[in-house]
Amino acid sequence: MKLMMVLFLVAITNSIASEAYSQNTKLTMQIKDATVKEVLSQIETNSEFFFLYNSKLVDVDRKVSMDVDDEKINEILNDLFGETDVVYAVVDRQIVLTNKANQISFVQPGSQQPQRITGTVTDKEGSPLPGVNVVVTGTTQGTITDIAGKYSIEVPPGLKSLTFTFVGMEIQEITIGTLTQINVTMAESAIGLEEVVVVGYGTQKKVNLTGAVSAIIMDDVLGDRPVTNVATALQGVIPGVTISGSFAPGVEKSFNIRGYTSITGGSPLILVDNVPTLNLNMINPEDIESVSVLKDASSAAIYGARAAFGVILIKTKEAKRNQKTEIKYSNSFAFEKVTNIPKPASPMETVLGLKDMGYQSYWSGQNIDIWLDLLNEYKTNPSKYPLGWTEIEGNKYFLKQTDLIGDMLANYGFKQTHNISASGGSEVISYRLSTGFTDEDGILITNKDGFKRMNVSSYVNADISKWLSTSLDIKFGKNTRTYPNSGIFNDYWKNYLPSYHPDDVLPIEGVDYPVQTIQHAIEYASKQSWVNDDSRIFSRTLLTPLKGLEMAFEYFYEKNNLNQKRYNNYFILDQGLQDALNPSDQNTEYYVNKIFEAYSTINAYATYKTDLEDLHHFTITAGFNQEFQDKDQQWSKNYLMISNELPSLSGGTGIQETGDSFDQFALRSGFYRFNYNYKDKYLLESNGRYDGSSKFPTNTRFGFFPSLSIGWNIANEDFMSSVKSINTLKLRASYGSLGNQAIDNYGYVAAMSPIQANWIYDGLQPIALTTPGLVRANYRWEVVETFNLGLDCNILNSRLQGTFDIYQRNTIGMLAPGMELPAVAGTSAPLQNAADLKTNGWELELSWKDQIGQWRYGIGFNLFDSKTIIIKYRNENKVLDNYYEGMEIGEIWGYVSDGFYTENDFNANGTLKDEVVSINGVISHPGDVKFKNLLDNKTSVNIIDTGEGTLNDPGDLKVIGNNRARFNFGVNGFLNWKNLSMSYIFQGVAKRDAWIGGNLMFPHAGYFSTFYEYQLDYWTPENTNAYYGRIYANAQEAHSVNQRTQTKYLQNASYVRLKNLTIGYNLPNKLSNKIGLTGIKIFFSGENLFTLSNLIPGVDPETLSWNYPLSSMYSFGIIINL
């Protein structure tokens, strides 16, 4: 607040001072028969005034004589131009002359009106440049030039210059003064100022990339979204990248690039400033400058063994030299609400369903007919049973409809974030400091599901000498994730509770106890917490000893400490449906888990650039990398706490348990990159890495992973020089082979772990050892080859940009069990390099941006797809419940539904007629689901079975669908008008099959289950044309057979989701300036506002289950620039 006051005063003083000069300065002069030009020149010589005019508009050759004594400038000018059509304006010391015809566009000095500036932007040949960014310097207000290179912009008073930027051109900053028309000629930038993207150990001009690289600027993507983790911010914006995982606050998400990776698993390497990160959740997205995704082998090869499935490079924000201090504060306040909730059927519908299943009395003791009578009575006269239940002959009959799922969810979750950053730079030093805070209380009732994070970051970069500079980046983060823990009541995502389940209290021996609902479990739960504190120190020293040579030495150390605490506090709930009391945990277990993880990295590398005759450009990068991860875990437990409120290890009276584990891995590598570029037309690049990893046995530890890529920028060919509208048209091709080491750290050691035996000796469980598995001492790297073809185009000066990539990725020698060993082996087969798969896919990215009048808009679209086939696997007999050659990943095997059995299918004694298809080992009845008989063999004629369970004899099963998400897409766009801006992101999947099954899919699916609203159309003798088959009491008979995976109940899991919609408003600068700020923006943002999905209620198309649900989030906030 103090700071703002000072700035405000300075502004006022300034404005007084500027008035003062023209008001207070008095001139004396005597001139005879001089030209106006000479008079003006005299005034300039004798005062601080200076004149601006166009000699075509102002006749300065006119002869005049003047004799003034101690007069103000206005009086002198009135004398000088009194009789003519010349008009003038005085702005501080600057005086602008023009004629009356042009006076309309003349801005009166000192007026508080915004000033409209127009103009045309051209290149050095004079051709108009569309798409140039024109911004009022120091603000976020701006526009872009139209197709004729013209622009028009309103400049708030007090702001003095415009900044013109365009890809590949030098930035221009033009002082406005009194001008109303500013025409600018943009000069091509000499070096470096073109759009560059971060690549491994360096940067590269986008136009010269030959690999498949997507890059985004975080501020563009994050915008004003109330998103506090990197993964959520990136979802749907980068083609080929999918992000999945839990929606619970603070739970880490997982990334995937370009589809299925390997049967042993595999995920992209995520690097923050050149080094892997232990905990991506620790990074505040506000601190991120850009994200590059290296998708093909050629761009990722410099990271060798860990980059097989792509690399995500995150670059954090730094600061530039010669930059005035910028201070930015932003916040957002978000409200979260769950909208997709499963709804059980009403008590009446449920009990009628039980009757239809054949229950006369339910497992919890109630007589169904009595229950139905009571429900009817309750419907007409609820006041008769004010408790919502009644007791007859020792059995409770529950009548009231409750909403257990609704009760466990808060009306609104709440999340707030605050970020403040300051950056600036002088000639030799620059810095950036930032602090961020986020606090989320999730969508469960109480504040027990939450996430809190504090980030502090400081970056300093200094030139020590002309050839040596160094930077230090220290980041600290502390986050706390919490979740309710209630011992045996911990399953909060139960989906089998009926709508008559009581929700209040029930008496046991005259005492009322809270009922075992999810709501009560959460309310009485203790708060389980995971506290991470993470420190990252990154030091970087740059040497430039010779022209063109840059050497970097980087040292990085990260320490992440996890402190997890979980306590099963003691409380008692009434079981509800049965008269019984359940304690949360009689032994009140208290558990503490501490994990200390350290990661250290040394990078040393050098880049040398040289040119030959301005035609041949070479860049060579080579370096060394060493990494070491050390993980040390200790856990302890104690029981029977003496205090339920203050649990501690020493405060328990049980038998203490403790344990530990260690995990280490080391990597040492050399890498290189070689670039050759001929006249920006022909491009060639090779990347490679020589890796040694501790995850492999000594003799197979090292691997060399090279790659090659070429590019041809057709737009730079001479024959294309007449086609002005195409700026870039580049064909790319690449090939590379990488290693995958995403396996257990000690996979080649036949280790035996200590375990507790299931036996008591001397009063305790003795320690035993696990059985060692089979290992192969010679296993080595999986190799992942990628072929990639790509096309980049940039048309109409970046207004239309497009990228298309098509690729094949072969994962060869996967470290799989290699095969399934028969059970006789007594263990699974050792890991060996025995399986191959291939993935084919493509990605398309298109964007368009333009301006029509005051309207600026843009739209981006991305679409990608991939498909994976196993091409080698040791499964000679092609047994179906394992991988086999030719298998498409994700295939769903099932039966073909063929209606229901009818009365006509059965003999009088209840057995099936001979000609009717039967199901092996199943006794069928009318209303049971019938399957199509696809294959007979000698022991199975007209019988549904699984044959030999092999591809050649799959019995009556076939592939009925595929659960991989196909045709992922994202659409994002913006629309700006004056100070208003709007942006949106849609994301979705166009094709996916899913087998949901279970309670949410089928009516009363199991022994303990219930009905949902949409599950009431099941078969009964009266309803033979139903959707669902027959259902049986106690889930007996063919109950579960009717739920077998089959065509009829396969779900379509495609969806479209509006991930974000943001509306922002920049306050007019005159308002913000009045309080001394450079800019203020307010915004409203909505996350996940709607989803189009065909799935049953409660099932999210991303997770395909009812679990911690996705919420819609409504937020607002403010951004302040000082």
Binding site: M551, R668, Y690, V749, I760, L769, P772, P830, N1034
Partner: protein
């Protein structure tokens, strides 16, 4: 310039040689070179072998309360009234194979056996640990052979290179059986007589397994007409006699074998599974006192129990007939009353706990009897559920008016084995600590009686040393061998000689619920006699009974209720090829050399 770069790069690469920086081994795990050196090393490893007693691949196991009586449910001595016997109803297929085709435990043992010779122990200690290993391997192979017949024999640890074993054919039963006998006899001779202390594998445990195994294999060979049953039968007789000498007394309370906190003090216990608070606890007591257990005995099994005069119901003079459940249970083998709670009725007063007697003396007849039989007070009648609520009647039919959900059942003959209110049953299930017996002298006595008959040596002397030691505590008169002729039980299975029938009857009564049933009826090759029986419930007043109950209209069982139909009337029933389990279809697909068992 280029020189400089060259120097830098070569410096960097020189540094990255294959040194100890990249050598990382687990810091918290052992490998076989370090795990098998000393006596204590082997002792440590051997504890993992004890897991076999609760392994889900064993039919007789103590893992959860649903698994307890499984062998007797498979045999249709007991039944799950919500389901159907899968053999009787022919729902077993190679796709849904009952399983057990699992050799991971054999591997676990062979790791230990193959490391013995490399250890630093002396020959005697090596022989001891070899014996322990062979005992466990035999225990597992016994089950494998019992289910599948021919099974691959794995004498040593299988490595990846042993394709002839991994993908080989099965070893003939003759060879497997002989190997098991060989191994157990080695163990008997070489194991330390007292094992490794309290409740560990020792010579008597080995002998107890030999007794069980040799009876099984000897009788299987005899009734399935395979060569050489005598060798096994004689071996069984030999070890059983040795054990009978070592354990001359048996406990005077039959029930306490299943409801004692510490079985160390119970006479005749050879090995038991110990449970202890917050160390290892069990769910069995809670299961029986809750609402999720559905096993019941059925009427024809109950009819096979003797009366107190030592005669079957058909010829007994003290049998009171079948008119009511009270009559049915009067003057019967007490072991029936311990397993199936006899009828009673009380009046609950307020709530679910408080009760008082009705005026009718018949309603409290068995309450008084049961409470007088139990001196501990830990098995009170009327029954208490886990909450605890008072069960006001037996039979306690689920869904009958006024019934409670826990401890209710469908047709009236509820199965109880671990009922005990002295052990903890609250807190979510697994908190009980009564021990369970694994090997005990009562079984050995019955093995001995049976094997002596099979050897043609069963006499009154043998009966007195075996069956007649068990009967006094069951309230049944002694067996008099020369009374046992065709007229002793006109209802017996006519294919079984009268004396043998009585020996088998005694075995059923003594071991009911301990899961021997299915293996017994298969080795006797009389499975269809038991499996094809329709499970029937009690005769009782139909008023207030749930409509789901069906009632036998005519014939000797008229008036009994039932839930499950007669499998024979539906064209189902035991099939000859069921004596061997099917090999899981998936395993045959992986290795066609295994060849499916006949007819599957």
């Amino acid at each position: 310039m280029k020189k400089l770069i060259y120097i830098i790069i070569s410096l960097i690469f020189l540094n990255s040689c294959n040194d100890t920086f990249l050598e990382r081994y687990p810091l918290d795990k052992l490998v076989d070179k370090t795990a098998f050196i000393s006596y204590d090393n082997f002792k440590t490893y051997s504890w993992s072998l004890y897991n076999i007693f609760s392994d889900n691949n064993q039919l007789r196991r103590y893992s959860d309360f649903n698994s307890l009586y499984e062998g007797d449910v498979e045999a249709n001595y007991l039944y799950d009234s919500d389901g159907r016997n899968r053999w009787a109803w022919q729902t077993v297929t190679p796709e849904t194979a009952p399983g057990g085709w699992d050799f991971s435990f054999i591997r676990t043992v062979n790791v230990m056996l193959d490391n013995l010779d490399k250890s630093e122990m002396d020959d005697k200690d090596k022989a001891h640990w070899r014996s322990v290993g062979l005992f466990f391997r035999s225990y597992r192979y016994f089950e494998l052979m019992c289910r599948f017949g021919n099974v691959p024999w794995l004498e040593h640890l299988v490595t990846e290179a042993d394709n002839d074993q991994i993908f080989g054919p099965r070893t003939p039963r003759d060879e497997v059986a002989a190997n098991i006998l060989r191994d157990l006899k080695y163990a008997e001779e070489n194991i330390k007589i007292n094992g490794d202390g309290d409740n560990t594998i020792n010579r008597n445990v080995v002998r107890a397994l030999l007794s069980r195994y040799c009876l099984f294999e000897g009788t299987w060979r005899k009734y399935h007409v395979l060569s050489g049953p005598e060798l096994y039968l004689q071996e069984c007789a030999r070890v059983s006699e040795l054990l009978m000498d070592d354990y001359p007394t048996i406990a005077d309370n039959f029930q306490h074998r299943m409801s004692t906190e510490d079985l160390r003090t119970y006479p005749g216990i050879i090995l038991f599974k110990e449970y202890s608070t917050n160390v290892i606890m069990q769910t069995f007591c809670r299961g029986e006192r809750g609402g999720a257990k559905h096993e019941e005995m059925h009427a024809h099994t109950i009819e096979r129990y003797l009366c107190s005069d030592g005669k079957p119901i058909t010829t007994s003079t003290v049998y009171d007939g079948v008119a009511t459940m009270n009559d049915e249970f009067r003057n019967r083998d007490l072991r029936l009353l311990y397993r199936v709670p006899p009828p009673y009725r009380v009046q609950r007063t307020t709530g679910n706990v408080l009760w008082e007697y009705t005026g009718n003396p018949l309603d409290r007849e068995y309450i008084d009897l049961m409470n007088s039989l139990d001196k501990t007070g830990l098995r009170p009648f009327p029954l208490q559920t886990w909450q605890p609520f008072t069960i006001d009647r037996i039979p306690h039919i689920a869904g009958a008016s006024g019934s409670l959900a826990p401890m209710s059942n469908n047709t009236g003959y509820y199965m109880l084995m671990f009922y005990n209110i002295g052990t903890n049953v609250t807190g979510g299930g697994g908190f009980s600590t009564t021990d369970v017996p694994l090997f005990y002298i009562e079984e050995v006595l019955l093995n001995y009686a049976e094997v002596k008959f099979e050897l043609g040596q069963f006499t009154q002397y043998i009966a007195d040393r075996t069956i007649n030691k068990l009967r006094p505590r069951a309230g049944v008169a002694n067996m008099v061998v020369n009374e046992l002729d065709d007229s002793f039980d006109p209802c017996r299975d006519p294919l079984v000689p009268p004396v043998l029938w009585e020996i088998r009857r005694e075995r059923m009564a003594e071991l009911m619920g301990d899961g021997f049933g299915f293996d017994d009826i298969r080795r006797w090759k009389r499975a269809e006699y038991f499996i094809n029986e329709q499970p029937l419930g009690v005769r009782m007043d139909k008023t207030g009974m749930p409509p789901a109950l069906k009632w036998v209209e005519s014939g000797p069982d008229a008036g009994r209720c039932y839930r499950v139909d007669d499998p024979l009337s539906q064209g189902k029933g035991w099939l000859e090829h069921y004596y061997l389990y099917p090999i899981p279809q998936h395993q045959v697909a992986l290795n066609p050399e295994l060849k499916q068992n006949p007819e599957w």
